[in-house]
């Protein structure tokens, strides 16, 4: 029965595809000029209030003729399932929250309006533009850049006589060696869900690949570069961590339910993750640092990896495009965006804006300001299906089932664009 119900769900979607008439988005207006603008988002409720309510209240104050009808939808599958159906039925909100993958898939389906002419469009950080665009059209306004890096328990490091967080790979290995010798907790590398090794590979690549070739992703999609030629160092660095991490244990340990709580409890000195974990980790009772992956050679400065996170997009079927544009424009202004960035421990995606003031992010902000950063390739080769395969391939690598070259060959096969 469960299977039949699954097919029923799929078919319901298909039935709508086959021609249910769109009835426009669900906002409304009245003769007094008051407009009700509907907004759907996976931030602003549940466990992620993210100061969305504060920003929205400021918007309603600034635009008294626009009343917001905000709907929180739980993230990931629930959001995808609900919005996908609503968009098909022409019943989605006027403004919807999206991520880079939505920009690609919903942009392809024609659900998102072109925002290329908006005043904030020229302010978007240049490397971010491909993530908010589909076939040359700007379809979303970015809200944040979330650094992905290494959380460091400085209190544990201090016990081993280490006073500063590592900035390059040799010093990182030296620190791990000192911790091991002192019998102190080392590097937590949980990879049961498969994304930790992917994070580390990409964090290392920010310095060892993208620093030299910032447009590596574009070149890869054009078949000009390959993993087998470019990504040896990131995998060799993972391999070298094997001297300090039990990878068999790692693959059997869950990132979220075990790795993160263990780090907060002081059971490890290093833990890799995104800035979205900062709020929880900062509650830990030790001195904390958050640094880019120290992937370079001796004496070099590392590049940070940034995750292009949430974005606002306008439903192409909206009947209140002017109000929707006002709303998105309001969010793009630095003073309005600041409460959200502060809550998210994220960096502004707009060049003209200031950056987050959280001291924990200072190293990341410094890297961003100096153009030492790369973006998580969520809009090119590291999309859904290749990503699942890449994670599996990397688990095999951790378990010693494949060599560096064989692993890179498998990643190349999984990530290469079809037809190449």
């Amino acid at each position: 029965m469960r299977l039949i119900r699954s097919l029923a769900l799929l078919s319901a979607v298909a039935a709508v595809t086959s021609g249910v008439a769109a009835c426009g988005s669900s906002s409304s207006g009245n003769s007094s000029g008051q407009v009700t603008l509907t907004v759907e988002s996976w931030k602003g409720g549940g466990s992620e209030p993210a100061n969305v309510a504060e920003v929205d209240a400021a918007f309603e104050k600034a635009y008294p003729n626009i009343k917001l009808s905000f709907s929180y939808v739980p993230p990931n599958d629930v959001y995808q399932e609900k919005l996908q159906s609503q968009l098909l039925a022409g019943d989605a909100a006027d403004v919807i929250m999206v991520d880079p993958q939505h920009v690609q898939s919903w942009g392809k389906s024609g659900y998102l309006a072109d925002l290329s002419s908006q005043p904030w469009a020229g302010q978007i950080s240049a490397p971010l533009k491909p993530f908010v665009s589909y076939q040359g059209k700007l379809l979303a306004s970015p809200m944040e850049l979330s650094p992905v890096g290494l959380y460091v328990n400085m209190s544990v490091l201090a016990k081993a006589g280490i006073t500063t967080a590592p900035t390059d790979f040799p010093s990182f290995l030296t620190d791990l060696g000192k911790l091991k010798t002192a019998g102190l907790p080392g590097y937590s590398f949980p990879d049961s869900q498969g994304y930790m090794a992917e994070f580390v590979m990409l964090m290392s690549a920010a310095t060892t690949v993208y620093k030299q070739t910032p447009d590596w992703d574009q070149q890869f999609m054009q078949g000009k570069v390959s993993f087998t030629n470019s990504f040896q160092t990131p995998l060799e660095q993972i391999q070298q961590l094997g001297g300090y991490v039990n990878f068999a244990d790692a693959v059997g340990t869950d990132e979220t339910t075990t790795g993160e709580p263990d780090f907060i409890a002081g059971k490890s000195a290093f833990y890799a993750g995104g800035s979205w974990l900062a709020e929880a980790i900062e509650k830990a009772n030790f001195k904390l640092a958050f640094i880019p992956w120290p992937g370079g050679g001796t004496g070099t400065q590392p590049s940070a990896l940034m995750f292009p996170g949430t974005m606002w997009a306008m439903n192409a079927a909206t009947s209140h495009s002017a109000a929707a544009e006002d709303y998105i424009n309001f969010w793009s202004q630095s003073e309005n965006l600041a409460p959200f960035l502060s809550s998210e421990a994220a960096i502004s995606p707009f060049r003209s804006s200031g950056t987050a003031g959280d001291p924990l992010l200072s190293t990341m902000v410094a890297a961003y300001s100096a153009d030492r950063f790369a973006l998580f390739p969520t809009n090119s080769w590291d999309l859904a299906q290749p990503e699942t395969t890449i994670r599996s391939v990397l688990q095999g690598f951790l378990l010693g089932k494949t060599s560096v070259s064989a692993t890179l060959q498998a990643i190349q096969s999984a990530a290469a664009p079809s037809g190449s």
Binding site: R2, L3, I4, S6, L7, A8, L9, L10, S11, A12, V13, A14, A15, T17, N76, D77, Q80, E81, Q84, L88, S105, W106, K108, S109, G110, Y111, S192, Q193, G194, N246, A248, D249, A250, V251, G252, T253, D254, T257, T258, L383, A384, Q385, E387, T388, T389, R391, S392, V393, Q395, G396, L399, K401
Partner: protein, 291 residues
């Protein structure tokens, strides 16, 4: 059976149910199958691609691996869950004083949601978790494992959670079967001096045939469509060793927005469930009649 006005009346009475069944079961099913012949990605347009999705499925090692894991998982769950349920029922059937309490305790895990059960077991299974600690304390350190990190045993570790959750159900169904066995048969067996094993093989096993059919059918349908346990415990890893067909459908639709491929995989799973569970049911019903 019906003639004249009676036939029309019967059709009239059947119509509402038939209409609801057709609208909510048959129509979506047919549309789902039709969807599998397209390249639909969740958008308003899609192209007819014939059997391309199915050809891709059959040539995709990940899908074939998931099919194999699904079958292995179902076999392990079927044998262990049914066997343990039968064992528990045979013990409890003769101990009236503890039967109700013990069967309630056995049923308790089934009251937890599969997601929560998976979280609980993810803690128990962690390398320094409860199971390895217990084994160490019992002097069985050599049996300690990376339960969810070893591709050779992860699937069985996931199956163990499924068995733990639903063995109580199997036990209850067998206990209902035991309740239907006439006491006179046991009394006659006692008078004839039949031992425990002979009583089981000559009386209980044949008389429990209907309960076995129900257990096997339910267990097969549930385990062939398993999704929650591998999703939460391993997300299909390590190295795809716990990937199942239902998990692949989820990944196709929610990760990849590949509705066409998801529908094709769902049709494959539907065929698997229908063929296996119908085959098992026919064989077991035939056995029931023969006994």
């Amino acid at each position: 059976m019906f003639t004249g006005r009676g036939r029309y009346a019967a059709i009239l009475f059947l119509l509402p149910a038939a209409a609801v069944y057709g609208l909510f079961i048959l129509y979506p099913l047919v549309r789902g199958v039709l969807l599998s012949f397209t390249d639909n990605s969740g958008g308003p347009t899609s192209n007819f691609v014939g059997l391309r999705q199915y050809q891709s499925l059959l040539h995709d090692p990940t899908t074939m691996g998931a099919l194999w894991h699904t079958v292995i998982y179902a076999v392990v769950v079927l044998i262990a869950q049914t066997g343990l349920g039968l064992l528990a029922a045979s013990v409890l059937a003769r101990r009236e004083r503890i039967r109700r309490t013990a069967s309630s305790i056995l049923l308790l895990p089934a009251l937890i949601s599969p997601v929560m059960a998976s979280f609980i077991w993810s803690y128990l299974y962690r390398p320094d978790g409860g199971i390895n600690t217990l084994l160490g304390n019992l002097g069985l350190g050599s049996l300690q494992q990376i339960w969810l990190g070893n591709p050779s045993i992860a699937l069985y570790a996931v199956a163990a959670v499924n068995i733990w959750m639903f063995v109580g159900y199997s036990c209850i169904i067998f206990l209902a079967g035991y309740a239907g066995i006439p006491r006179e048969l046991f009394e006659a067996a006692d008078l004839d001096g039949a031992g425990r094993w002979k009583r089981f093989t000559r009386i209980e096993w044949p008389m429990l045939a209907p309960a076995l059919t129900v257990n096997v059918t339910l267990s097969l349908i549930g385990s062939l469509g398993v999704f929650d346990f591998p999703l939460v415990l391993t997300n299909g890893g390590p190295v795809n060793s716990t990937n199942t067909l239902a998990l692949l459908i989820y990944q196709d639709i929610f990760n990849d927005s590949d509705f066409g491929m998801g529908a094709a995989t769902a049709v494959l799973l539907l065929l698997l469930v229908v063929v296996v569970s119908t085959g098992a049911s026919i064989l077991l019903r035939r056995r029931e009649r023969a006994l």
